[in-house]
């Protein structure tokens, strides 16, 4: 089912006059970093060494999720480990879970929750894989991947072995996993697990790389790539590795971010994987348990100059409100951060045409996000920026630390770099890494959390003027997976304007974002019609939904 095509012509005309006619505010996108008063004491530790072990620079992600079902989004930070033994017993290396107290502060509950983790961590995926109503965590890493089952009492149990998701490849052994994501690829109502794997690396065999005469983190060209993994959820707490059978494992790249959306509207969720200095993968879901890699055919494999970029984080959402999810990928200096506009059957690279090349061509980013930060109904872009090398000043004459970037979406056809006015923290260069976004204070404005290599994260509360309206939709699946991941939502406003979004927690790089589906409504005080297409195929319509609240929607029986 394709919603966008039939109405996109109308919309194209509509957006030209809509903002003025409805009085949508176009005030600044503004964030405030509240880390100092948040109670979050987490300091990432990558065990940075003069030897420049490759894994040091690849740390690490963050999840925004509600682990205790109190309606407040909590935070989970992934951490490195001591090197060379990748031991995590020292608390400085623990992953950390912070409970959201609802007053702008967070409490560290790692110890009680039992989620300090093991090994050198990379990323995290959050979702309720067993449909028991409690969000679970899957943590990726260099030498260990872990599945933490949420017991519903504030504690988690490591069920990795029982579940069969340790990330051990039959031939390669434990792969270096970067990101993971939950999605229901066969629409059986149970969330399956996708894991991206990076390169064949070990402490014992890694080469010594140099920039000039200085030790430096290696280019990915120094390593061979690894295949990604797909685990099918058996519904009994176990998973089956279907990487080979599904076709996913047949493609060998250097996997970084993984994001999901049904790009061609065939009712099955597809997968985009950004690869580091290798062409991106777009796994088209054939609907029969197999996938076809369609990156090249669809026009998302390379940037507009046919270059394999150093693909890092990505996001997969509809930026031009035509009902077709688009892809935003971030890379490194010289790559640009490509935006691939979905045309239904394939994608067009609109990076230059939509004004993204200028602000991004000379930057490097890790985390990426597509979200409507100013609630004007147009989703904006966020990039968590930093160089790859921590000594790039000496090697490349480039700053190793960079400020983040936020690009405002202007009418779905152009983006403007508004970073300079986005708050003080956007003027502070840091070694930014993972990015997750969500509404931490339930005020309808999308906040962001950005991790910093060997530093404290930024908790960026959205302080944009509250003139525009919004809607947050919390889905509760029944026949579909309980989180409703993969559900596609269409909001029609009184003006005739139509907005689209879908449910996913997989965003950026090594990160998990707020599962609730967000709509910025501009001046509209209600949604005339909210249509939800559940992964089960059930289509649900809600009329006259008032704005500015969190709407919980249960999946109907049919």
């Amino acid at each position: 089912m394709r919603w966008g095509a039939a109405i996109c012509v109308v919309l194209f005309t509509a957006w030209l006059w809509w903002p003025l006619a409805t009085g949508t505010s176009t005030g600044p996108i503004l964030f405030e970093n509240i880390i100092d008063r948040s109670g979050v004491r987490f300091v990432m530790d990558s065990s940075t060494s003069p030897r420049k072990h490759q894994i040091e620079t690849m740390v690490s992600g963050v999840a925004i999720f509600d682990y205790n079902n109190d309606g407040l989004m909590d935070l989970y930070f992934v951490n490195g480990a001591r090197l060379p033994d990748m031991d995590k017993s020292d608390p400085r290396y623990w992953n950390r879970l912070y409970r959201n107290n609802g007053d702008g502060t967070f409490t560290d509950v790692t110890g009680k929750a039992g989620v300090r983790g093991a090994g050198f961590g990379m990323g995290v995926a959050a979702a309720d894989y067993d449909n028991d109503g409690w969000v679970d965590l899957y943590v990726t890493g260099v030498n260990r991947n872990q599945l933490f089952h949420n017991n519903g009492d504030g504690t988690f149990t490591d069920v990795t072995e029982k579940a069969g998701v340790a990330g051990v490849h039959p031939q390669l052994g434990k792969t270096w996993s970067i990101s993971a994501g939950w999605f229901d690829y066969d629409n059986d109502g149970r969330l399956d697990l996708f894991v991206t794997n990076y390169v064949n690396w070990s402490l014992d065999t890694e080469p010594l790389c140099t920039g000039g005469s200085l030790p430096a983190y290696c280019s990915p060209n120094s390593y061979t790539g690894q295949p990604n993994m797909l685990f099918h959820n058996n519904g009994d707490g176990t998973f089956t590795d279907v990487s080979e059978a599904s076709g996913i494992g047949k493609q060998v790249g250097k996997g970084m971010g993984v994001v999901f959306a049904d790009y061609d509207g065939d009712g099955f969720t597809d997968v985009f994987v950004s690869n580091d200095t290798y062409r991106n993968f777009l796994f088209h879901n054939n609907g029969n348990g197999t996938f076809r890699e369609a990156g090249m055919v669809s026009g998302v494999a390379y940037n507009e100059n046919g270059k394999s970029i150093a693909g890092m984080g990505a996001d997969f959402r509809d930026v031009d409100n035509d009902g077709l999810p688009d892809i935003f990928v971030v890379g490194m200096v010289g790559d640009t951060f490509p935006l691939f506009r979905n045309r239904g059957a394939d994608f067009t690279d609109v990076t230059s045409a939509w004004g993204i090349t200028g602000p991004t061509a000379r930057s490097t980013a890790w985390g990426a996000g597509i979200a409507d930060f100013d609630n004007d109904g147009w989703k904006d872009l966020f990039a968590a920026c930093s160089s790859i090398l921590d000594n790039s000043e000496e090697i490349e004459h480039l700053p190793s630390k960079l400020p983040n970037k936020v690009l405002r979406n202007i009418g779905g056809t152009h983006f403007a770099d508004v970073s300079a006015s986005a708050g003080a923290s956007f003027g502070v260069p840091q070694a930014h890494r993972g990015l997750a976004y969500g509404d931490l204070d339930n005020d309808g404005r999308i906040d962001a959390v950005v991790t910093i290599k060997d530093g404290r994260p930024e908790i960026l509360m959205n302080r944009s003027p509250e003139k525009n309206h919004w809607l947050l939709v919390k889905l509760v699946g029944a026949r579909s997976n309980r989180d409703g991941l993969g559900a596609r939502l269409k909001a029609t406003l009184a003006t005739g304007r139509v907005l689209y979004n879908h449910a996913t927690t997989s965003t950026g790089l090594s990160a998990a974002s707020d599962p609730r589906v967000h709509f910025g409504l501009g001046a509209a005080e209600r949604v005339d019609k909210l249509e939800i297409l559940w992964p089960s195929g059930i289509r649900q319509v809600l009329d006259n939904v008032s704005a500015d609240h969190i709407l919980t929607v249960d999946e109907p029986a049919k």
Binding site: G212, S219, S222, H397
Partner: protein, 484 residues
């Protein structure tokens, strides 16, 4: 070419000297005798002084004037020599020695027309005058009358045998008349027996000009231990190696020259370009910095440094280098480099001003329009896009063989939903440069948009093949923007 003249002039001096000895011992003659002895001992200054005294005492004696002109010519003072030789010819127009020496001198001074007239007179008087024939061959070579030059020179093999400069001139004439093998054979004569290193170097340069790089390389190498200007020689060897496809050897030659302080500015520039082309940008920059220290007044060196810095994204450094280069030599390339560096360094207003200035100053420079147009596309604004399109189209008007404007315009058309127009640009671009992977990538996208999936597949295949050839192998490079 000076050696030929010396030969001729020496002959003249000897001949006139012999006559002088036979004429008895006037005071003027005594000075002339003394001069001959000095000249034979190699003491040209004293010889000159004695001859000046002889001329002073007997200003109407054409022999003394010819001898003084000869000595001055040997000393390199061709202009003064010309004055005395011309006087001698005027006093005694029938004396072939004076006229021959005057013609030789005129040839060296580049007074080809005058030399030609004098040699014609000589040959009319004596068609078997081998020296005059030889000199006319040399003059004709300079006049680019290569067929005549070859004919004249090859007719006097015995003079050529004593005068190796002639082989070089003959080789040049052969190259220009399409007789490459003859040219190579002529140059071979410079090696066995070994000619003067300067002549061999000249032969190498002639081979270089004729794109006969391997022969040039052989000639240059043969005088490696004897040629006095080591820097120029090493630079030429490296260039010959590079152009004959021996890139690694060329790089080695230049690195060794740099190490031994034997590099010329053009050698440095070539080395930087080679290192940069192979992706060794940081090494290129180190060499460029060294070159800039050694040749602070070379615009080429500074703009090369700027280009390496630009590639490395050291934008502010690149701005500084190009600014210095622009002060030394204001060329379209330097202006374009400066504007690009300024743009990338975030100095948009300055960059715009530099681009606009460059376009006014060098209105026929297609590349400036193309680079400016491409950069203007970065921000995606409608105004800049319109200007960019105009610039790219203008670039294409200026240079119909350019592929980059076609590529950029095709991408714009594709984004604007005009695949047919994009197709036209790309097809013509690929005809011009079938090995540019980006063009095939873009064409595959266009074909796909047009529903020509099979063609798209073929283009994708070509793209991937070309791309694979471009990919560096596994190397232990640093991550980030550079691959040292």
């Amino acid at each position: 070419m000076r050696l030929a003249a010396l030969f001729v002039l020496t002959l003249a001096l000897t001949a006139s000297g012999a006559r002088l000895l036979a004429q008895g011992a006037s005071p003027a003659q005594q000075h002339a005798d003394q001069a001959l002895q000095f000249a034979q001992q190699g003491d040209l200054k004293s010889a000159e002084s004695e001859l000046r005294k002889a001329v002073e005492l007997s200003p109407g004696d054409s022999n003394f004037l010819t001898s003084l002109g000869g000595i001055l010519g040997m000393e390199g003072d061709l202009r003064q020599a010309n004055t005395y030789l011309a006087k001698a010819v005027k006093l005694n127009p029938q004396d072939p020695a004076s006229r021959r020496n005057l013609a030789a001198n005129q040839w060296q001074l580049g007074q080809l027309k005058e030399a030609h007239q004098n040699l014609d007179l000589l040959l009319r008087a004596n068609p078997r005058d081998k020296i005059a024939t030889f000199l006319l061959g040399m003059v004709s070579e300079k006049e680019k009358a290569y067929a005549r030059s070859a004919k004249l020179l090859e007719s006097v093999p015995d003079v050529l045998a004593q005068q190796p400069d002639g082989w070089a001139a003959l080789a040049n004439s052969y190259y220009h008349t399409g007789r490459t093998e003859n040219a190579r054979a002529a140059l071979q004569r410079l090696l066995s027996p070994p000619a003067n290193p300067r002549t061999v170097f000249l032969g190498g340069s002639i081979a270089m000009d004729a794109l006969d790089y391997s022969n040039a390389e052989t000639l240059f190498r043969s005088v490696r231990s004897s040629y006095p200007d080591r820097a120029a020689l090493e630079s030429e060897i490296a260039l010959a190696e590079y152009r004959s496809g021996h890139v690694a050897e060329s790089e080695r030659t230049l690195l060794e020259a740099v190490k031994a302080n034997h590099a010329t500015s053009s050698g440095y520039v070539l080395l930087c370009r080679m290192l940069s082309a192979e992706g060794s940008d940081l090494r290129a920059l180190r060499i460029a910095a060294q070159a800039a220290q050694a040749f602070p007044d070379s615009s080429d060196v500074l703009s090369t440094k700027g280009s390496v810095e630009l590639k490395l994204r050291y934008f502010k450094d690149a701005v500084a280098s190009y600014q210095k280069a622009a002060v030394l030599k204001d060329s379209a390339g330097v202006k374009r480099g400066l504007a690009t560096a300024q743009w990338n360094a975030g100095l948009r207003e300055q960059a715009t001003s530099t681009f606009e200035q460059a376009m006014r100053q060098f209105p026929r420079d297609a590349q400036t329009c193309q680079v400016y147009g491409t950069l203007l596309l970065e921000d995606g604004s409608p105004e800049n896009k319109a200007r960019a399109v105009n610039l790219l189209k203008h670039a294409l008007d200026l240079d119909q063989s350019a592929t980059e404007p076609r590529y950029q315009l095709a991408n714009l058309e594709l984004t604007d939903g005009n695949p047919q127009q994009a197709l036209a640009y790309l097809e013509s671009a690929i005809k011009l440069d079938p090995n540019d992977s980006r063009l095939h990538f873009a064409l595959s996208r266009v074909y796909r948009r047009l529903g020509r999936d099979s063609d798209a597949g073929k283009e994708t295949e070509i793209y991937q093949k070309l791309k694979a050839a471009e990919q560096p192998g596994a190397r232990n490079d640093a991550a980030g923007g550079t691959h040292p």
